[in-house]
């Protein structure tokens, strides 16, 4: 028998250390599937490290991969803080990307100073509306937003395919379902010569800082935290709970939408139905690993991007399936969940005959 008692005041060191430990542990656990696949384990880890830190190009590739994850991670972190279960980041990402393509492929023409903000705004609004829907269904009808936002992912992805075979299809694409390229004025500029890293990365960091300031220092942040922790008391204290909830839903969707804009306008240049390899879902892991802290999201997005990029590179060299990256990332989520438990509770073995 074991007895579980809550810790009165979990130490900050413990709370902060848990995600780091979880991340390390998930990397260590990756050795098991590697061994299962018959790969040389130490060599594989080496390949992963050089795949990320081996060259300036590799490193910037990793940051490029981290960019959408920062956005989707922020989307999840902000929503979860208000106990809004936005699992629809994937769909909202595509909505943002679609809006960016719609506005940025010639509908309006202007200088970059106008076009870039316009494309970002369009993507944010589209993504925001994409989460506002489930949030309204929740507040109006009590329909669980977990399920509706999840199902919307499928609907939106099919919708994207439909648009790419229809109105958004590039006539020059020789039958491939892809959109026209974004006009040059709307493209997020590259940060360095010959590297794919683009201004979306800086934008993501800036957004994380703003999110941090809002959550920690403003009345809005306090309201969001109050609504998330105890909506009944928040309502009793005169905080407009529904309005805060809907605003958070919009903001969360908008953040995921920005991920889509950043991918289209910063990296790919056009929209395809395989724009995102699950950035929306991975954002949930990013947020949890960050303990829902906006600044932490940047760090955890970089960690997870490293896992993906490193594994890809290792996979090419050794031939182990790159699904290993998904496996490692999912294990890090479970590890951080478990770690949170050990940070919050004390576990004591009981002598025989004792009871909790």
């Amino acid at each position: 028998m074991i007895e579980i008692t809550p810790r009165e005041n979990p130490s900050r060191l413990l709370t902060a250390g848990v995600p780091v430990l979880a991340a390390v542990l998930s990397l260590v656990l990756a050795a098991i599937p590697l061994a299962f696949a018959g790969a040389p384990i130490l060599d594989a880890y080496g390949q992963m490290v050089t795949g990320v830190f081996g060259s300036a190009f590799a490193f910037t590739e990793m940051l490029t991969r981290a960019t959408p994850l920062i956005f989707t991670g922020l989307a999840a972190a902000v929503a979860f803080k208000a106990r809004l279960w936005n699992i629809g980041g994937e769909g909202q990402l595509y909505l943002g990307a679609m809006a960016a393509v719609w506005v940025g492929t010639g509908m309006i023409d202007g200088p970059p100073i106008l076009m870039v903000p316009l494309v970002l705004l369009a993507g944010a609004i589209a993504g925001g509306l994409g989460m506002l829907g489930p949030a309204v269904l929740k507040t109006r009808f009590g329909a669980d937003e977990v399920v509706t936002s999840l199902l919307l992912n499928f609907i939106i992805l099919i919708f994207v395919q439909m648009m790419l075979e229809g109105p958004l299809k590039d006539p020059m694409s020789l039958g491939w379902p892809q959109s026209e390229p974004i006009v040059d004025a709307a493209v997020l500029p590259q940060l360095m010569e010959k590297m794919r890293l683009h201004a979306g990365f800086l934008l993501a960091i800036g957004t994380a800082v703003i999110a941090h300031v809002i959550m920690a220092m403003t009345v809005w942040g306090l309201k969001i935290r109050a609504v998330g922790e105890n909506p009944a008391a928040a309502k009793h204290a005169g905080i407009p709970v529904t309005r805060v909830f809907l605003a958070v839903a919009f903001a969360s969707g908008a953040l995921a939408g920005l991920a889509g804009v950043s991918e289209v306008a910063g990296l790919k240049g056009y929209l395809t139905a395989d724009l995102s390899p699950g950035f929306g879902y991975t954002g949930i892991v990013v947020a949890m690993l960050a303990g829902l802290s906006p600044l932490g999201v940047v760090a955890s997005a970089i960690f997870i991007a490293s896992v993906f990029v490193g594994t890809d590179s290792m996979s090419r060299a050794i031939g182990v399936s790159s699904f290993l990256a998904d496996l490692t990332v999912s294990m890090s989520l479970i590890c951080v969940l478990l770690g949170g438990f050990f940070a919050r509770f004390r576990i004591r073995r009981l002598k025989a005959g004792e009871a909790a």
Partner: protein, 314 residues
């Protein structure tokens, strides 16, 4: 209009409805059992993948379909046990744990498939369940093709509906499961173990979910593909609310769903020229959301759903 009427009169339409409904029946029953005990299991989508892969793999390696079914259920139960440990004795977030299980299970199955079958050009196939040709009965007009030309797994699903109804409604075990999902303190005060009841329900429910996945690779198709579950697990989570956590209504919900899905396939062939095919593909997901909206208002959630319970705390 005549065309739609014809669809409804054709036995193949009703047979297809039941076929499409089968994996959902398994899934909704599984979700129902978990939620009745107070545990939301968002691992369902991943557990479907586990059932699909493990059932198929076992059948592929041993040549025995029923061994595949058994292994699918066992491995689904194992992932359910994982979710149960995290959420019941440890009391961790059921949302996050469930999503974690789904991600982990999906990644593990994909990784294993790729590792066992590196870069195959055509997916390896098995000989799937055949339609049970019940002598005489399958020759009945209409009912024959609809009911008696289904595979054994469909029959298993229908059988499980009855079994679960009986357990929940007629046995002390069912009463205890319903009680632990309503007020765990009541169960504890009467000397029953909250932890064991909940963990048992989640493991058993997860095994049922895995059978839904196994149906996909062993009855509906004959091979394993990435992404073949395609949101069916999430649809079950919506349907269980629509079914107000009752086995009978779960069957009804899954059948209604199967009907609409079968209908859209047929309408697609009829009206494919006028409407883009994707519109029809959206139908199942849209329907699930609509079902949820209809049911949510008066949904009578198990009161202790999502609430962790620790001994000695009130």
């Amino acid at each position: 209009m005549m065309d739609i009427l014809q669809i409804f009169l054709s036995d193949s339409f009703w047979a297809a409805s039941l076929r499409i409904a089968t994996p959902l029946i398994f899934g909704v029953l599984g979700a129902l059992l978990c939620e009745r005990s107070g545990v939301l299991n968002l691992g369902i989508e991943g557990i479907f993948v586990v059932g699909a892969m493990m059932g198929w793999l076992t059948a592929y390696l041993t040549g025995s379909l029923w061994l595949g079914v058994i292994f699918a259920a066992l491995s689904g139960g194992l992932f359910g046990l994982f979710h149960a440990v995290l959420t019941v004795p440890l009391g961790l977030s059921q949302h996050v744990s469930g999503l974690g299980i789904t991600m982990f299970a999906t990644a593990l199955m994909s990784f294993s498939y790729r590792t066992i079958f590196p870069q195959v050009s055509t997916p390896p196939r098995i000989e799937p369940f055949r339609a049970l040709d019940v002598p005489l009965l399958s020759d009945l007009p209409f009912l024959g093709p609809v009911l008696f030309q289904q595979t054994a797994m469909t029959w298993l699903a229908l059988l499980l509906v009855a079994l679960l109804w009986w357990i929940m409604d007629r046995t002390a075990l069912g009463v205890a499961i319903k009680a632990v999902g309503d007020n765990p303190d009541a169960v504890n005060a009467q000397g029953l173990s909250v932890i064991r009841l909940r963990m048992g329900a989640v493991v058993a429910g997860s095994a049922l979910m895995a059978l839904g996945g196994a149906f996909l690779t062993m009855s509906a198709f004959d091979a394993f593909f990435f992404g073949m579950v395609n949101g069916r697990g999430w649809i079950c989570i919506a349907l269980v609310i629509f079914a107000s956590w009752q086995p009978g209504k779960a069957l009804l919900g899954a059948l209604l769903f199967g009907m609409f899905d079968a209908l859209q396939v047929r309408l697609q062939t009829e009206a494919g020229a006028l409407i883009p095919g994707q519109v029809f593909l959206m139908v199942p997901y849209v329907l699930s959301i609509v079902a949820l909206i209809i049911a949510a208002r008066k949904a009578d959630y198990p009161r202790a759903l999502l609430q962790p319970w620790f001994k000695g705390q009130r």
